[in-house]
Amino acid sequence: MSCATCHADKAGQLAASVHKTLHCQECHGGPASYGLSAEEAKRYRADHHALPGKSGSARFDHGAGFKGKPSRRDVPAFCGDCHADVERMNPYGLHTDQLVRYRTSVHGKTLFEKGDDRVAVCTDCHGSHDVLSSHDSASKTYPLNVPDTCAHCHANKKLMGSFGLPSEIVDEYRHSVHGRLLLEQHDTGAPTCATCHGNHAAAPPGFGAVGAVCGRCHPHVEENYLASIHASQEGFDGCIQCHGGGEGHHRHFIQRITVPAGRMIHRYAELLRSVPDPTPEQITAAIHPQPRRIIDQAMSTCTECHDEPDEDESIPKLFKELDRIARGERHFVKTAHRLDVISQGVLLVEDQQFQFEEAKTHLIALAPVQHRLDPAAVDKEAAKLDQVCDEVNGGLDHLEHGLQWRYRSLIPIWAFAVIFAGLLYAKYRRLDREYVEPAPANETPGNHS
């Protein structure tokens, strides 16, 4: 009788897991099989959960060396028996520093230093018998499932309350720009909880300075922000000062602020048509009829410090930057559309498509320059994008001009063919008119005689 005779559910999970080549005793110890009679096996199967004192039946003796199920506190070492063993992990190309890294995490420190086993251990995030590859969409560590895996503990009000932590952060993340990308658009490239906080070493070095974490995926933003006046302001909380949704832990509601800014740019552009050089007061009046409501909406973060938008000279500066960025983006979109339309037709635009690939890089680098708070820098970056777009448009103009020339040059060719055909037809008609029916054949000489 094997372990599966009584533990069929666990054996089934194991067979479908990444550990399918392992045998039960490799983790749990004990013999590979048990010499039980069919009658004994049947009795234990019927009552295999029975414990002494509960049902009166004797607990099954799993034999010498049997380790059983480890306590939560022992789980990291239990998994680490193999996963921290370089020799054993080498054939699979797996890292062997997870246990060491786990010890440096908030979870690991709480477990090992404080002895509190309510924190996450390996099995909470990976499962036990049902461990799957993180590439498997059913895995607890598959990107789309990570928020739910973390929420298992971090959305538990009672558990989080006992640690003095909020239980809304995963929900805030789900509605953040990153959460919506991941969970609504299924963009597995979007950051999950683990991208910012780390996985085994949850809370990476420098997490306190959030900018250090954001900059790992947003290097352009980080570079420009660090060169701005904001970076040197005491008390300015880096990226989440503007993009976070609240105080302390509640800053997981990370949002773009360019969407409402886009609406304001539109109003600003309308204003520019009638007032070429507007004052701050005119701008605030134009972008929102009730300037103070801006505080509650798009510019709430700006107006925390710039509390008099009507008088602050940095406000028109910001709008000039945003307007320049919007113009650059429109140039990109129009060029992309033109290239797409022309590529569907008769012209070969491979050279222009190749040139335009570079424009994407400039486009993505453009918006982050606004964090430098320097209109000249925005102008410089936008000029790079404009240059590529202009070159592409110039190439397309040349191709379209060539095609037009082909169309035009065909007119005289066809005109010649038609006129020539007409002339031939006229000649034919003339010959036809001049045609004289041959006289009937003369009678044979014999007839006159």
Partner: protein, 145 residues
């Protein structure tokens, strides 16, 4: 059947032949003319392109080339020449080869790919597509897989 009827029928037949000839001539003029207007519609670009200068790349060096309108990056590795799509699989920015690390870096969101195009870190969801490299004599050709 009278002789006159026979003559008229023969002329009619000749007229018909002339008309047919005119039609054929007309088509012979019109079809090439129409094709002349869509010269590039045939054979949407070469499937395999020659990469000039790739043969002279030193180990660790790379160059950006165009393959059917798409940016490709050719790298000389110790094992020989390799070519990958130069567009990051995240948002399409052009990646750069970093010889010291033997990695491709995307400047937009810090995506990192190894020398085989596999994702090392960052947001790219999939590896860089690899292109076929073929060497014929001293010439190097790259084609979409």
């Amino acid at each position: 059947m009278t002789k006159e009827q026979t003559t008229t029928t023969r002329r009619g037949f000749l007229d018909w032949l002339i008309s047919l000839g005119a039609l054929i001539t007309g088509l012979a003029v019109t079809i090439p003319g129409v094709m002349y207007l869509w010269p590039a519609a045939r054979g949407k670009g070469a499937k395999r392109v020659q990469v000039k200068g790739a043969g002279k790349l030193a180990p660790g060096q790379s160059m950006m080339v165009q393959v059917n309108g798409k940016a490709a990056i050719v790298v000389r590795e110790r094992s020989g020449l390799k070519a990958f799509s130069a567009s990051c699989t995240h948002l399409g920015c052009l990646v750069k080869w970093v010889p010291g690390k033997r990695q491709f870096h995307c400047p937009c969101h810090a995506g990192v790919f190894d020398e085989n195009g596999a994702v090392v870190s960052g947001p790219p969801p999939t590896p860089l597509p690899e292109y076929k490299v073929k060497k014929i004599g001293a010439k190097v050709f790259v084609s979409l897989a």
